[in-house]
């Protein structure tokens, strides 16, 4: 079997205007691979939300997207403050984004719920003061 296809991105935590670049690149890449439109859309949305979260809350990190024959795996890893209460953070509408971020149209409290809704599995490993790693898969 051929090796899985993988892309790695460093997410710049300082640059709010370029946030989303990695997701747009992944979308283009998956299109070139000829994957179904709805799969691409789910991956792109789930990844974008994660990317934005890393910029808002964690000063950046990295993202890795791997295409397996049966699924796409997205890993988002940061060294941010960690999520205090994951259950609460998963609730639609709950947000800790600061006002400055809200004025840009973020902070709707829909990031994690959108990530869950657009993935088939989602695992959150988080530790206060250490960071957060989120692993999502989208089945083909």
């Amino acid at each position: 079997m051929s090796a899985p296809l993988k892309l790695h991105f460093d997410i710049d935590g300082e640059n709010f205007t370029s946030a989303g670049e990695a997701s747009v690149k992944v979308k283009k890449w998956l299109r070139q691979l000829g994957l179904p439109q709805d799969i691409i859309r789910r991956v792109a949305i789930a990844m974008y939300e994660g990317e934005i979260n890393m910029v808002i809350h964690a000063s950046g990190g990295y993202a890795e997207v791997t295409v397996f024959p049966d699924r796409i795996e997205i890993i988002l890893c940061d060294k941010g403050p960690g999520i205090k209460d994951v259950e609460l953070a998963m609730q639609a509408g709950y947000s800790t984004a600061p006002e400055r971020i809200r004025s840009l149209g973020f902070g709707a409290g829909m990031g994690l719920p959108n990530m869950k809704a657009n993935s088939d599995t989602m695992k959150i490993n988080t530790e206060i003061g250490v960071g957060t790693t989120i692993t999502m898969t989208v089945n083909m």
């Binding site: 670049e21 949305i45 149209g105 959108n114």
Partner: protein
């Protein structure tokens, strides 16, 4: 109806229209980007007053047919250049969001 026809019918200003032939199949209104990500569908005309670069990213990821900026909001030149590169149609109108939505809804009936 295409994005170009929508612009013409509603006298929308064309800020950037790389794909006038893009078919508009529905509409979505919203300013909170995650809300839009969760709800906008491919082919929608997305009506918003949000006007920064992230609008371009969301429109691209959601595959909306066009962005319609309401209440005379505009994207700055740099962001419009990005929209053009990403092949995103961006229109605007002096009408507020609700009125724009009503008009777009009538056209799509």
């Amino acid at each position: 109806m295409t994005a170009g026809e929508l612009a013409q019918e509603l006298s929308l200003n064309i800020l950037c229209l790389p794909h006038p032939e893009r078919e508009v199949t529905g509409g979505f209104a919203g300013d909170l980007l995650s809300w839009v990500m969760g709800g906008a569908k491919e082919g929608d005309a997305w009506v918003t007053i949000m006007s920064n670069l992230n609008v371009v990213a969301v429109a691209s990821l959601c595959d909306t047919a066009c962005v319609v900026l309401a209440s005379d909001t505009v994207l700055d030149e740099k962001d419009l250049k990005t929209a053009e590169e990403k092949e995103i149609n961006v229109l605007n109108s002096p009408l507020p969001e609700f009125e724009l939505c009503v008009k777009i809804g009538e056209l799509l009936k």
